[in-house]
């Protein structure tokens, strides 16, 4: 299943690399054969570890295979059952709600921080280092730190607020906000780096000219900064949304899908139902659907977002 989800991940980022590649087309008519030989090992490894497992997975989604033992073909039965399963639909609802909220928060917060880190502040490199730390830490490690925070520290610190006093992680309606908090906290680090590199591509003459013309800071942001980092905004939004749709580790660390099934994401359901639940084929069908959904979402985002990117 791990190979499947990562296969989904790789395939979903496929469009991004393809789109970028067409832009920088080599002028030479034909590449040297050595380049082809450099590519072959990677192609074979990719096929062995990604493409073939994906195809095998798709094949088994049309059977009643439990992951071991004997099996028969069952046609489309798994796919039909998926659409009738409210637990599956609920997990899609959770994943999308989570991904959209987390994507908006991550990009808003990290763009703000990146602009601060790009300004001439004191100890700039120190602050850049500090904001990158969450990316270096293993998500499960900080996950358990956050879990302790939510279940032991916050109930004491914020004992006046019932939501936190009773451990927000055990609240079926609000546990997901705690997961969003952890995921955004961690995801911001990488987004900040991308935004920072974007901000550094903007020539400072543009700002000088704008300030001579009397443009306010807000006007400079909306007319210069934001349009010129459009490509970076696109890649950040697409990568965040795709990453958050596949949310898994923060949930394992914080709520394990609970209370009840209220924070069960699609990936968690696929993993649980497929392995602990013994419904390998059924959840593989779910994974195939999820793969298609993520691909469509990513493609749509590229179409919409790339249209409004500016070049100078």
């Amino acid at each position: 299943m791990t190979s499947l989800t990562s296969a989904v991940r790789t395939s979903a980022t496929g469009p991004s690399t393809k789109k970028r590649a067409t832009r920088v087309r080599s002028s030479a008519a034909r590449a040297m054969p050595a380049y082809y030989w450099m590519v072959w090992p990677a192609v074979i490894a990719f096929a062995a570890f990604h493409t073939i497992p994906v195809l095998v997975g798709i094949f088994f989604s049309f059977t009643n295979y439990a992951g071991y033992g004997e099996w028969n073909f069952v046609g489309m039965a798994n796919y039909l059952a998926l659409f009738k399963d409210d637990r599956v639909l609920q997990s899609y609802g959770f994943s999308f709600l989570f991904a959209i909220v987390a994507t908006i928060l991550t990009n808003a917060i990290s763009l703000t921080i990146a602009m601060g880190l790009n300004a001439k502040i004191k100890a700039r490199n120190f602050w850049r280092g500090v904001y990158f730390v969450p990316y270096v830490l293993a998500i499960l490690v900080i996950g358990y730190v956050f879990q302790f925070l939510f279940s032991n520290s916050l109930p004491k610190i914020l004992s006046g607020i019932p939501l936190f006093r009773d451990n927000i992680l055990t609240n079926p309606d609000f546990a997901w906000t705690a997961i969003v908090g952890l995921a955004v906290w961690q995801a911001c680090a990488f987004s900040i780096i991308i935004y920072l590199s974007g901000l550094q591509t903007i020539p400072s003459e543009l700002y000088e000219a704008a300030s001579l013309d009397g443009a306010s800071s807000w006007r400079q942001f909306t007319s210069i900064t934001f349009p010129l980092i459009g490509a970076f905004f696109t890649i950040n939004v697409v990568l965040s949304l795709k990453g958050f749709l596949q949310v898994f580790d923060p949930i394992i660390a914080l709520t394990n899908g609970g209370p009840g099934t209220s924070t069960e994401s699609v990936t968690l359901l696929i993993f649980r139902g497929g392995f602990s639940g013994g419904e390998f084929a059924y959840q593989t069908a779910n994974a195939v659907i999820f793969f298609i959904v993520i691909t469509i979402v990513s493609l749509l985002q590229f179409r919409v977002l790339q249209r409004r990117e500016a070049d100078y």
Partner: protein, 431 residues
């Protein structure tokens, strides 16, 4: 010159590519020095040292066999992954739950029907395994040690307060009230670990499910619901009410406490009872070796004679169906089931040994459940009968959080219907 250079590059590249491909499919085979290495899949973290001791004794007697113990954290996922990869370990211990039954039914384990070691095991224990499932006509597992799932209580506190072991539900509630009045915490709840809601659910749910409840549920399949002859909504309202009643005696903040917190609190005398099985006594004694703790069954009946003790095969021993080391694996298994070996293991793990003639240790907790084993007032864990694709643990936990028992039971019935509808049984040998 140019041409030759090119060919060299090409050859090197082809070789590199080929070696990579071979590397992917490569597989190591064991050395032929006369020593057979058995891989021993072991699921129980707390039994790691006991098994290490058994293995070193066994290796001393059998110098031609080396046993490698692989203790895994998430055994059920791990064994499935190994099975998917066709890398079944030689000798396997597992917890005998519903998953084990399904694996056995799929025919991935060895058939012990004709092995002499089977004769030494208590038939009642093998019956519990048979209820979980075997491949038709076979016996795919050997019960090793049994646990007991009751209420753990601190005998010193009960004695101090002049309380007797409750034998009916009203007495049970009276004990809780008396403890609360005396300023003693009756139970210590640990719902941050969702599974800790299950021991009490299993024990209370054992009562309404005695007469083939789950057989009927499986027969009804897609028709299970409030109006069907049996269903969770119909038969479990009382179970959920009783469980909620017990959880109303929990300490403040029990939602955020973990299993380990509960064991520590009970060991230090902060609570009089734990809604946990006998397996919790091992960690409790790790914290306070002098604690005087014993177990009584959940008295969810009006007549003391109707009380039931829930017990499961905590460790089942089995082996791969197709193993090249069949003889050696069987020799190791025979050694595991020798009376002296199993007695020592069971005593160390505070469990009931399965071999006929092996003595139960004189631990007060084990002695307190012995009468129920002797009189046959025992029954299996009911959650083993629920398909694992139903999020039972999560649903029970949520109902204890929000108090919506009716909603929880409706969810269980609806999940049961859905699983029944989408499960298409494997037919015949056709692949």
């Amino acid at each position: 010159m140019k041409m030759r250079h090119r060919t060299t590059v090409k050859t090197v590249a082809v070789l590199a590519t080929a070696s990579l491909t071979i590397g992917l499919s490569g597989c190591a085979s064991g050395p032929a020095d006369g020593v057979t290495t058995l891989s021993f899949f072991q699921f129980k973290g707390e039994a790691l040292e006991d098994f290490a001791q058994i293995i070193s004794d066994f290796e001393a007697q059998n110098p031609d066999i080396r046993v490698v113990q692989n203790q895994v954290a998430d055994s059920e996922t791990a064994i499935r992954t190994l099975l998917v990869k066709d890398k079944t370990p030689d000798v396997i211990t597992l917890n005998a739950n519903g998953n084990f039954g399904r694996l056995a039914q799929a025919g991935v384990f060895y058939d012990f029907s004709d092995e002499p070691v089977l004769e030494t095991i208590n038939p009642a224990v093998q019956n519990i395994l048979a209820e979980l499932g075997n491949k038709t006509g076979e016996i795919n597992g050997l019960g090793y040690v049994n646990n007991a799932n009751g209420v753990i209580y601190n005998r010193a506190i009960f004695e101090e307060q002049g309380l007797d072991v409750p034998e009916t539900w009203d007495e049970f509630i009276a004990v809780c009230d008396a403890l609360q009045t005396a300023g003693i915490q009756p139970f210590y709840g640990t719902l941050a670990d969702s599974w800790t809601g299950m021991p009490s659910w299993n024990a209370l749910g054992a009562y309404p499910t005695q007469d083939g409840f789950f057989d009927e549920m499986r027969e009804e399949g897609e028709d299970v619901g409030a109006d069907s002859p049996v269903s969770f909504e119909k038969d479990f309202a009382d179970v959920m009410a009783k469980q909620a009643q017990l959880f109303s005696y929990m300490q403040d903040g029990y939602r955020g406490r973990t299993y380990d917190d509960g064991n520590a609190a009970f060991a230090n005398g902060e609570a009089a009872m734990l809604l946990q099985g006998i397996w919790a006594l091992s960690p409790v004694k790790g914290i306070n070796p002098d604690i005087d703790a014993a177990i009584f069954p959940y008295p969810a009946a009006d007549d003391p004679a109707d009380r039931l003790l829930v017990t499961g095969v905590d460790v089942v021993v089995t082996m791969a169906r197709e193993t090249p080391h069949r003889e050696e694996a069987l020799r190791f298994i025979d050694y595991l089931f020798e009376v002296g070996v199993i007695e020592e293991f069971a005593a160390s793990q505070t469990m009931v040994p399965s071999v006929v003639g092996a003595e139960i240790s004189d631990d007060p907790a084990l002695q307190s459940v012995k009468p129920f084993f002797d009189s046959g007032q025992i029954t299996g864990f009911i959650d083993h009968q629920v398909p694992p694709s139903i999020p039972l643990v999560a649903v029970v936990q949520q109902s204890l959080f929000d108090g919506d028992a009716a909603g929880a039971l409706a969810t269980l019935d609806s999940e049961w219907r859905k699983v029944a509808a989408r499960t298409i049984p494997v037919t015949g040998e056709d692949q």
